[in-house]
Amino acid sequence: MTETTVTPERPITVEGTETKRGWAGQSVPRKEDKRLVQGQGVFFDDVKRHGMGYLHFVRSPYAHAGITSIDVSKAAELEGVYGTLIGEEVAALTDPFFELSTPPGAHIKDYALAVGKVRFMGEPVAAVVATTRELARDAADLVEVEYEPLDTLVGGEQALADGAPILHDDAGSNVVWSGVFDWGEIDTALAEADHVVKIERLHFDRFSSTPLECSGCLVEYERATGQWTLFCNHQMPGVGAIWMGPALRVGLDKLRFVTHDIGGGFGNKICLHPYYVACCLLARKLKRPVQWTEWRTDQHTANGHGNERTFLDIEVPVKSDGTMLGFKVRAIDDCGAFPRYEPLGCIIWAQVTPGCYRWRNVRVDFTQVCTNKSPVSPNRGYSRMQHLWLTERIIDIVAQELELDPVEIRKRNYIKADEFPYETPNGCIYDSGDYARCLDIALDLIDYKGLVARRRDAESRGKLLGFGIGSTLDSGTNNFGQSQLLNPDLQFSGNNEVATVKLDIFGELIVTLGTVPQGQGHETVASQLVADLLGVTPDDVYVRPGHDSFWNSHAGFSGTYASQFAVTGLEAVKGATLQLADQIKRLAGVILGGVGSDAIELADGFARIKDNPEAALPFMACGAIINANNAGLPPELDDVTLNCRYVYRPPFQVPDKERNFGNLTLTYATQIHACFVEVDRETGVYEIVDYAAVDDCGTRIHPQIVEGQVHGATAHALGAATHEIFVYDEDGMLLTSNFYDYHVPHALDMPPIKTGHIESPSPFNSLGTKGMGEGGGAGIHVVGAALQDALRPLGRPIVTRSCNPYHRVWELMTTPEESRALVEVERR
């Protein structure tokens, strides 16, 4: 059961409001729940249209093969089949999706269907549309594709080897992007250190958060206007449209994305554009709505995986007192067959370059490569998680090798509470926090003081007790200018989000969001803020579920990703609501006898004169006057529409491209986790027996939702730490392609989670909030650390992988020399 250790002293009242109700800061009932618990949510697969056809993709059984021929004639002849699409048509009707990378990655050609060649198992080579889901599947079986298998490439390091099969002939190399980031003086630090700890290889495994609702869409094409409407579950439609429009050779006005309820996203629903383009082409070709719902096996084999990353030749300079000066590393990131959202992951990690630590000298030689595996997509904790795993592995390996205490070495190296705002070696500004205090709370929660007694007790039962810490940051609100550090020609920078708030004829308060929630409760949280600012209750505020590009409430970066709603989404809501409040007051001032708007307050659904509350105008009257009864209004109210739109733009600059220097994200939430594991000496089977997660995301608008995100992020991380791994064989066949083989945590797998929190308000936005929810993968780090600690008596093996199922623990126990051979300490 959850134990919250710290409760806020008082609800937070948002500045700028005349009322002091303080809905913000309270866990009000979620608006979304009533429909969802009754099965009345509207997910894309619930939407139907007259005459729609169901699409099924014909997918490659090979990881790497030339396509010799495709024959769809037998499928097309089947009664009930509406039509087909193959790669050759796609190549003629669309342009390749634009690539974000400089060469060689820039030359990769990525289309909606495979053209000439397949590069991963499950890659779509053709599509069939039929009257029913079942018939579409039958017809897909009748499509005859001849392949000529090619040598397969499944490892990131092998991609760079001489003679490796080349995936993309146009690129001429398997490298997507490479570059060296060098901050501070790592060579000097290594020369002057008292000890240098060297780690030959660490590997962050491939997994994905696998949302329970698979991807999909229902696409309608309107011939009169050439416009496509996609009822879908894309979680970042602004960017989706930027990919799709040029590929389809249309402007963004021709693409309307509509979402309602989305069954989880976690980043895995960002790279849906190839599938959506195929659906768009077929909706136009067949003159009927086209529906596509991804099957679970398809999601595992061919949708977004998380980035897999190998860290090589790590060197860490350490002073005799345990102060660490930084590190150097060579990183090889395996993005699968196509870059898509990549190579952004080649820079996103730099948001947290030194992790939680005061390390000033860091050199990262970063290379991203393609392999014959599913393309990656941002996955909760995207790219920072892999890097933070590295920093946490570094700290625990150094601690073990130099016989330092894992708590003490962290506290010695953590950025101190009085050092915020703290500028990292690469110019990121950590806004606020208190890592040591969070760690102390976590240690209290799991009763760290009882460590020795617990070890003894475990030993008496044939178990090895291990203790671990995971210290991570959830950097939120991207500065998209970081993309220019990868490719100076890219025209992206800053960030934005939009909201509109209007007061309608009968007094309805209607909010539209540019964000695209997938369970984060945006309707509820937005209504809390609006209620505080307008003197009403959240029940009085209707927040439209989902997203619609035609609501005029979205901008280029709209979406729900990268831990930002609490900053970008809410700042947009606040901006629009303050405008509306001002307009209501001005209108009321005029109607109530010509007083200035300063004399008006908003409370209980009325605009009233502060000194004379009897003189009050209900919101309903305000809405009716402006919208339907406006004759005779004075000209000074000409700009009053009671329909206000605000675009929030965080205060960012384009980073310095010469020095790779600048602020890459606005806020940094903290997660400090601690746990005990018990490992069975005979089998390597282990259990997490105590677990604490302490979170600091600044000011919390809805504590219950925040805590829910902490639970969810922890569950994802524990899944990734213990069982979730996409395993490929040497032929590029995915061996964990559904929930049988790919084991996600079930209720019996989850340990009891104790939670605690502190609030260090962010100084960089008006609400003091920080984006949160991704969680930085703290659970991965904490389990690895605890396993390494537990196995110490068995030859001090080193945990070198992010995912440690029982059989890996067994290998570590029985052959400790193998992992030990990867570590060397130079003592001076």
């Binding site: 866990s27 096996t297 939702i705």
Partner: protein
């Protein structure tokens, strides 16, 4: 004379108190019959292997995964789906408890989770935490880590739900 096998047949099913007579393809899964033919879209599909439990419904008093059964096999059966829980707009205690405890985020697993929980409480009104976790082990939730789901079921079993 060659006899063509039947590829469809008419079935009669009582769902949430209403009787439906329907011609269905022999290979139609029960879940697709509910969702696509009857528009009972509260029951969800989260996998194709029977692992996730998003499609859990009650069939003749048993808690079953409706993606693991053909619609024709349900002929003559009595079925309850998530749509049966609330009465006259009033939430069933489990539904209220799920909302009280923030036991749902995206809400996609929720209908199946509720049906599994209801089956548990119908047969074991005062379960332990371990019994609750066991009862929902066939239902995957990717959002909550189950913490608040377990708390909500526990609260519902004790009648501790908000009005």
């Amino acid at each position: 004379m060659k006899v063509e096998p039947l590829t469809s047949r008419s079935i009669s099913v009582e769902i949430n108190g209403e009787t439906y007579e329907h011609e269905v393809d022999a290979r139609r899964l029960l879940v697709h019959f509910l969702r696509d033919d009857l528009e009972l879209t509260g029951t969800h599909v989260g996998c194709d292997t029977g692992n996730c439990g998003a499609c859990t419904v009650h069939l003749d008093g048993l808690s079953i995964k409706s993606c693991m059964m053909l619609a024709v096999q349900a002929d003559g059966a009595t079925i309850e789906t998530v749509e049966s829980l609330a009465q006259d707009g009033r939430l069933q205690p489990l539904q209220q408890a799920f909302s009280d405890h923030h036991a749902l985020q995206c809400g996609y697993c929720t209908p199946g989770m509720l049906m599994s929980a209801k089956h548990l409480l119908d047969h074991n009104p005062e379960p332990t935490e371990g019994e609750i976790r066991k009862a929902i082990q066939g239902n995957i939730c990717r959002c909550t880590g189950y913490v608040n789901i377990v708390a909500a079921i526990m609260a519902a079993s004790k009648g501790e739900v908000s009005a």
